[in-house]
Symmetry: D2
Subunit: 118 residues, 4 copies
């Protein structure tokens, strides 16, 4: 993990311990909390066109930034509880995606891998 | 953003450009994709007890790590498209939470801020 | 509950009991399962334009119909476990929305209630 | 669709038309709104134990009932926009599940279909 994620992780651990909240932070519960924040993120965008979603006014953008932050914070907590190296997992997943979606095969095509004919 | 997130961001941008996929990556669509991955994360935990969720066997842990990775990747893409500094937003959000949930008031208590009596 | 929902409810109860799955069907777990299905629903639409989402080809429509079904089935299970009358709750909620969003005030406007100035 | 769902459907259509909100109700957007409500549902349960989730106090139960209602309402709207018969799809899906998870094979076992060895 890079330094900034390490620092966030340490600060979140201290935050939870000072409040005696680690008892609530099972991976199951943290996954629910993360998905709840993802739901809040959706609510900001659900009635916007795609173009509007790319041109948020400042106050809305600030709120969206805080939803993204909430998701990152639960992602860091969850990785800590599971003993997952988040950056390493992300690098591994990009490598998998590069294999699964060869540029020449999928260019400009939005289907998911399982929607391609064999 | 720390170096590792910068590097992931650059690699994801290149990945999208080589596939002509930036056209699909409106913030609205990326928010949906992120929430879809959060849903997949839930599915790994839904029938487990909290204790089981903290003691995954290796293969399951690897799959969960990839879901966390997918969420991080969409989080980075979304931040890039919105011009949000993800780490700065996370630091800001932690500071807000430290104010909203004073340790002496909420210790051992799992209610959300709005569930406390005024 | 209308007859069809009653029948689905009875069939789902029997399905769970024959498999000894009621032990897994706490409201917490069923809420997770429902949200997981909602995530799968999103995945069908995430790279489509709004117009494309309204003109699905048959095979895709059939898959989407099954996601909607999964969500309904968990909704019925959850209502049964919580002792909630789903139809009564829905009627109550529509009445609340009719109050909260008076037609003359919100016509053609997609903001959420809390986004209106007081 | 049974009478109660038909009535809810008609009332929701009128609600949307009176507010000129049908323009926002593409299947894509309604799927997002439904998933957003599923996220709110999660938030009620995320820090509760499974046992607590089965013994909600009255006020919390009322709120949860309204989240379930919101999900049902979007489910009905989405089915209407897609031309899906929700009850028929649910019956079809139960039949599929009865085949996929034979009682004698899966009794007391919480794995998902794809997690069983061939």
């Amino acid at each position: 993990m890079p330094d900034s994620l390490h620092q966030l992780n340490a600060r979140l651990l201290q935050f939870a311990r000072e409040r005696d909240w680690e008892q609530f932070h099972s991976p199951k519960n943290l996954a629910m909390a993360l998905a709840g924040e993802a739901g809040e993120l959706l609510e900001h965008f659900q009635w916007l066109t795609e173009a509007q979603s790319a041109a948020l006014e400042d106050e809305k953008k600030r709120r969206v930034a805080h939803e993204l932050a909430d998701i990152l914070l639960y992602l860091i907590r969850l990785s800590e509880r599971l003993g997952v190296d988040l950056i390493a997992a992300a690098e591994e997943k990009i490598a998998i995606n590069e294999q699964r979606y060869p540029a020449e095969k999928v260019r400009g095509d939005a289907r998911r891998a399982e929607e391609y004919p064999e």
